[in-house]
Point group: C2
Chain length 333, copies 2
């Protein structure tokens, strides 16, 4: 089969599309023929060597929509031939609070979805919401899981609350906005790009602030009224601002950080009785609830661009440039 | 009446013991004759001008045990002559999550407990747990309220969990240890003083680590097994260490910070799905539950030293030096 494999650390250009043996489903596993995959920052970070213990070569990719074509011994799930999406969180474990030490994410070390076929535990295979196009379905799993857990399981977002979504352009934050709007929240977003802010308004953002052009952006946001919940993955100075901005008794959920360190004022946390809640990926229950929510509300993730598999390096560079709005998809079939 | 009033910013020496008019209880208020007060870092910080909007002169003091001797119009509470303690959190409001904008702490701006008489809302007056001595009862209110909310309401401490208590010498942290031990937790404490660690062991600490003498203190703690909950009010580098030390899925409660800023690694929060929970003081319900818990478990706050009112400046300097273990009490009657 054809697959996109990373052969050396050093960025997207070290990913090569080549022929490798197709996988065979072992006990408890499902074999999925991939129609489309989607990229995540994680894929880019792996090419850049930003994780420990990267074993090469490896097939990248955590997101996929495809067709389940075989089950290994003892495995079952959606009927053969069904259109499925894959929960990229492998072996989360029994504790809804946190993943187990055995947990991994599809696409390193386990071979990922940027290939014509992928083998995963059958419990990770779910019927795709039927209203989604191929590319929308490919865009959903990792970002939808992360966004749902951040908003609902951790953030406990309630209808009518005001939410602040920082850096709205990325794949996860665009889905955070989509979900938050559907949950009945009043959405405030920030971005460094006016173009992204226009897109965010179309997705339901009521207030959209350009932090590059408005040096007083935090004051602009403060004047918009109390913020009940903020979702941040920027870290650094943005996290410090967010902690200062959220109302007393409010919540801040962080699911990532692009800077290794952040200098915060603990005073904001204790004086305002804040909940600062960490999250990453999500549990099997989070994934099931997310799929049901997307199907019930007929939500469609935003697809930025679709690249053919041969152009996977260009697709990764698109993430690297940071100009995308929504998810970058790679068509396989 | 005699009272300790702060006349100028600049430290404990600007507190003068002098004669002032005794207060009269207004509508909804109780008049309490104070037997003993206790000091908090807040009193010291006020003398140092570390809060905004300090109006001088002001009678300091948030903690008191005494006798309720009169009620104003429409007020009721414990019977006249009863020995009472005062909940120092005034006008918390209706939201158990966070205080209202009207909330203040007894002892600035409202005249405090370092006086022969103090007037407070009658709802803040509660029968003192009968097993406590005068000085233990004086030591309890503010620190007990803060500790109880940090451990129980916010920290959700469960029997059998392991808790890390940083900087165990202070008034609140010594009560955090007392309460956590009574709640059936395995207690790990840190301090920069071996003498304080000996005291902490006597209060039930299983592991006591001197962070000054053991530069690898965080490794020592890590080797003691997973930490479910940490309670910190140091901030700064200690907060960053605590976030790194707590187990995946664990909680960190912060109720203060002696440094204005802390540089943390957001990765610790999101990768471990931590709850970082701010708290300060506590609600009326927290106070009632705390008193019932102290009475039921017959817990006795640790009293460091007792000073006569005339030596209140020396008592404040004791806090400033930071060598105390437990609460510094000022005898009034």
């Amino acid at each position: 089969m054809r697959a996109a494999r990373l052969h050396a650390i050093g960025g997207p250009d070290h990913v090569r599309v080549e022929r490798v043996d197709a996988p065979q489903p072992g006990p408890g596993e499902a074999l999925v023929r991939v129609d489309a995959a989607a990229l995540n920052r994680r894929d880019l970070f792996i090419t850049q060597g930003l994780y420990p213990g990267i074993a090469l070569p490896v097939i990248l990719g955590s997101d996929a929509v495809g067709t389940v074509i075989a089950y290994g011994p003892g495995a079952n799930g959606p009927e053969l031939g069904a259109r499925v999406v894959i929960d990229p969180m492998l072996e989360w474990g029994d504790d809804p609070r946190v993943w187990s030490p055995a947990a991994t994410i599809l696409g390193m070390p386990r071979p990922g979805t940027l290939a014509e076929y992928v083998c995963v535990p059958a419990v990770n295979v779910h019927a795709a919401p039927p209203h989604l196009t191929r590319d929308e379905a490919a865009a959903l799993p990792l970002a939808g899981l992360t966004a749902y857990r951040a908003l609902v399981t951790r953030g406990r977002l309630q209808r009518g609350e005001t939410i602040l979504i920082t850096g709205v352009g990325g794949g996860v934050q665009s889905i955070v906005l989509l979900f938050a709007h559907a949950l009945g929240a009043r959405c405030i977003v920030t971005s460094g790009s006016d173009e992204k802010l226009v897109r965010a308004r179309a997705l339901g953002a009521e207030i959209a602030v350009n932090y590059r052009e408005d040096p007083q952006w935090h004051k602009t946001i403060r004047s918009a009224g109390p913020i009940d919940l903020a979702i941040d993955s920027a870290g650094g100075e943005t996290l410090a601002r967010v902690l200062d901005l959220v109302r007393p008794g409010g919540r801040v959920v962080i699911y990532g950080g692009t800077t290794p360190q952040a200098t915060i004022r603990p005073f904001s946390i204790f004086w305002k009785h804040l909940d600062v809640l960490g999250t990453s990926m999500g549990s099997p229950q989070d994934f099931r609830e997310m799929l049901a929510f997307v199907e019930r509300e007929r939500l469609c993730p935003v697809v930025d661009r679709v690249y053919p598999l041969d152009d996977v390096a260009a697709a990764l560079r698109r993430l690297q440039e940071g100009t995308q709005f929504g998810k970058v998809v790679v068509a396989i079939a």
